[in-house]
Amino acid sequence: MLDFVIKRLIQVGVVVLLALTVVFFLIRLSGDPTALFLPPDAPREQIEEYREKLGFNRPIYVQYGDFMVNAVQGDFGQSLRSREDALPLVLDRLPATFQLAISALVLSLLISIPLGVLSAFRRNSIFDRIAVAFTVLGQAVPSFWLGLLLIYFFAAQLNMLPSGGAGSITHLLLPMVTLAAYSVARFTRFTRSTMLDVLRKDYIRTAKASGVPTIRLIGRYALKNSLIPIITLVALDLGTLLGGAVITEVVFAWPGIGRLLMQSLMNRDFPIVLAGVFIIALIYAVINFIADVLYAYVNPQIRVK
């Protein structure tokens, strides 16, 4: 087990470093960064001076080495706009993103697991059919559009909720629902099919035949046995949730990492972009790591492989 954990931990490091490497080179390939500091009509000498001063005249591998050495120490340089350190700027936004992502995750689990279980248990009933139709539809609706529709109904028409920003529970409601919607569709569908598999098992038939009450049959026998695949899917989907959070944050002007990353991409404020990519890759890799370890813990076959 320890072997497995260490191996996966090294992988986390590799993933994050490679993500940084790729983005670093993409940015350098996309043009000379000095152009971003100076007006377009700056004289040649001034451009040269800047290149010299910022170190862009050095060979690319030297720049890369420098960048990586600084980056692993948490130094991504300063924002090209505000001249503040990039990493703290990104970290400041982390709590808002977590708040949004975790509340959306909790909401989608609260809806999708009961829905999926009921749907499987009453297979082919009207309820099941409607639930299935919803999951199919839910996966076809782009989350940013759902966000726009919610803003239209609840902010523009009913005037009940704010259309964007943060600060209170009312600000959280719409982005939370928007972000949760896609996961609800996926989780419900998955819970349903996992439950259907379990319900076909012999031990369920035996339990049923020996007169175990329905509630207990579901809770103790069926749901418990379908939890492992569900937990795995949820862990794997946290990354999708994180990606979705970025878009949701932009739609609702939610002050999280995603919105900061988008603004920095727009402004070509690359130190922040790199710091943002670093943090997102790190979170994502750590989530995957935890999911893998948990999974290996419950399923010993994985460890041996």
């Binding site: 199919v136 076809a140 609706v141 782009p142 997102i280």
Partner: protein, 300 residues
Amino acid sequence: MTVNIPKVTHTTQAIKVKKQSAVVTFFSNLLRSWTGMVGFLIMILLLFISIFGQWIVPYDPLLADFSKKLLPPMTDGHLLGTDQLGRDIFSRIILGARVSVIIGLTTVLIAGTFGTIVGIISGYFRGWVDVILMRIVDVQLSFPFILLVLVINAIIGSGLRNIIISLAIGGWVIFARVIRSEVLALREKEFITACVATGVSRTGILFKHILPNLFTPIIILSSLQIGTYIIAEASVSFLGFGVQPPEPAWGNMLNEGKDYIFSSWWLITFPGIAIMITALGVNLFGDWLRDTLDPELKGE
């Protein structure tokens, strides 16, 4: 089609189906599933619109007319109303279909081809090539797809060509991973062992025996991925990258429309419906294809 069919009732069906031509099989299967049929019809409609759209549109989708700006639907001959520049929304959605179809198909072609090649190399030759290639795939899969596409696109620049490149860079890994595992499984099959034993060359085995057997997983995966690409493009264009205005794409129409959300609901409604119907059609068809061609995977 008169073939000697043994009179064993429960096997008759299977033998008959094998003797039918592929097209007949396809449609007779399709007719049995209404969801697959709906998906197929939506895709045909989409394809039709994207090819003939420019002759169907009632107005020039790029023509601005400020005297007619923000007209609600069904006024002055504008079925779905006009946008903030007075352009006909119906015409823009029709032309936007082409952008979505081009992006979906081209991306799947590039990402699919590249991913399949990598998957075959990885699965067939194994060894250190496999280790390196799959490490790259692992690393990339551990970054959210939509974020990857967004960051790449923002850095290399917007436009139709660049969004396709970004999506393809983000998308090939899925193909590589799936095809590799298919090849690994095929490699162990007896008919491949027989080929090796009878001295069929490596290229012969690869192209004549492995590649044809990959057709089904490639088709299934491609059809399921197209929807992902179309939604991803719409998301990226909505965020201000991807396809740039004035070229009509459903994502950038929503982006422009969101500033008028408090006054003109139609700007943010219809392009979204178009995306939803498209994604629904492609997903339904893809699900049906998977259930039909690969019954083992049925229902996830």
